[in-house]
Symmetry: C2
């Protein structure tokens, strides 16, 4: 990617920060777009374009001259009401028009492995499983995916989609109600009880952010025919099991309080990552306990716990 | 449906006019919403609520007190640019909020059997085939379908979706570039050549509008578990074959001019209607040549040919 001029939309967020740190010095030009970095020291050297995703002028300036766009920006979360999610779709359509008018050759889009399938009939869930989201957030991600395929069909704008499971690791702040591992670690390190929503039986697929970054980088230059990849660990873990593992990493079991479950929760979400393994040459390489330890160390060092 | 209070969104359009004519006198209250009827005499007795789909206030007044909503309204067409199609999605989300706040128990939505599947791998195409539209129009229809399922999941608002193939029959004016049979008949009756876009090999599934109306009425009260139905004839016909059949109905072969094909065209679209037959108890009953003759007679009588 030495000669690549790229922009990371949402470069100040959790995955964006990690991606920018990896790309720094490895690409010809690195820009980030969004509401400014959460951790400015961590992304020093990145050319920042500040703006909201709905700010067409600033978005155009950020994309202008780039050949690769990493689209990680989202103003909505899985718990967002219908309507807020359509704003992300509308802004993405504006982005697609900018890309096809400009020099952009590829968009790498981070979709949502945990919401686009809805309540999956098959677990682990492969990419060709039915997509019946039970959140407006998941529907918007899916609609964006379909428009990416449309722009390739109509205009030759290439793309790769990563349906990322539940990422965790450094620079996740658990700020928007996302990131259960960061939230648990912050509370446990601060001596507060961790909150379990629902029964604790909810199973998710947690993937360490360095592995996600590697998948994004591979997707930026991937030459195969597949354009849609699940990115997860392929392993399901219940909230209850996570609390146990955090106890081992912290040296003491965290105190637990139970809260009522949310309607947005599917009971079990684990991704089948066979396609990414075979076709993208990708592998989730970070050991689960290593990932937890590194996340714990970062939260402690950042003074967030 | 004797005690039903219903509103037909898009009641002035092609399918809407036919549906209103059927429902008149068969339901307790019949309203129509949209930009006014194309053929006012044909829908006399329907309580009209005039407004654009984006006019939230007028839409609310039209839906208020209704238990059944027929959603046939669309400002976009299959050839619409991206962006125009999102307006239909946004307006539909507003509609869903109105329905869940009000007394509406069911929405019957007319989706697009010819565009949601994209280029189908299986022909005839069943409802569970992959949905990879190659038009923004098809993506918007699909996103609306997903939101209907979401509102049932979250709020218990029931729905049925009909993925209608290419409908034809009386009250189709071929005004928005839709309705090849109406367009051919108008030109042929006026002594003008018919225009074939592309090679003439393009295959579609044409279904007579009375059969579509019957499916809509069945869907309004259907009690089974399936909520998504293909509605077509199940038979594929090429443009070239249609021109031949129109020649038989008109007593002389129409003159033909060839035009360049459009990027929005999938080569072959035929629906598998097994599910509607088994589960909705529906059957496309109108004979193909009968349908063509009745359409011819209506166009001649309406002075459109």
């Amino acid at each position: 990617m030495r000669s690549t001029k790229c922009v990371v939309l949402g470069g100040g967020g959790f995955i964006g920060t990690n991606l920018c740190r990896y790309l720094l010095g490895r690409v010809a030009e690195l820009r980030a777009f969004g509401y400014g970095p959460s951790f400015p020291d961590a992304v020093r050297g990145v050319v920042w374009h500040e703006g909201g995703f709905d700010d067409a002028g600033r978005l155009a300036a950020a994309v202008d001259g780039c050949d690769t766009v990493f689209h990680l920006i989202s103003s909505a979360t899985p718990a967002s009401p219908v309507g807020d999610t359509v704003a992300d779709l509308t802004a993405t359509l504006r982005l697609l028009e900018l890309c096809r008018a400009g020099a952009v050759g590829r968009i790498v889009f981070v979709s949502s492995g945990g919401t686009v399938y809805g309540v999956p009939a098959t677990v682990p869930t492969p990419e060709d499983a039915p997509t019946d989201p039970i959140t407006a957030y998941g529907i918007a991600k899916l609609a964006i995916e379909k428009h990416l395929a449309l722009y390739r069909h109509l205009h030759g704008l290439d793309y790769r989609i990563l349906r990322v499971a539940n990422p965790f690791g450094p620079f996740q702040t658990a700020g928007k109600g996302q990131g259960v591992i960061a939230a648990f670690l912050r509370r446990a390190l601060a001596g507060q009880p961790v909150e379990i929503w629902g029964t604790g039986d909810v199973v998710r697929d947690y993937v360490y952010v360095d592995d996600v970054v590697e998948a994004l980088v591979l997707a930026a230059t991937h030459a195969g025919d597949e354009r849609l990849f699940n990115i997860g660990s392929g392993v399901g873990r219940s909230l209850a099991a996570i609390v146990d593992d955090l106890g081992a990493v912290l040296g003491r079991p965290p105190e637990i309080v139970h809260r009522e479950g949310r309607a947005v929760d599917v009971p079990r979400s684990v991704l089948d990552i066979t396609r990414a393994r075979h076709d993208l040459g990708w592998e989730p390489r970070t050991d689960w306990h290593d990932g937890l330890r590194r996340t714990r160390d970062w939260i402690a060092a950042a003074g967030l716990g």
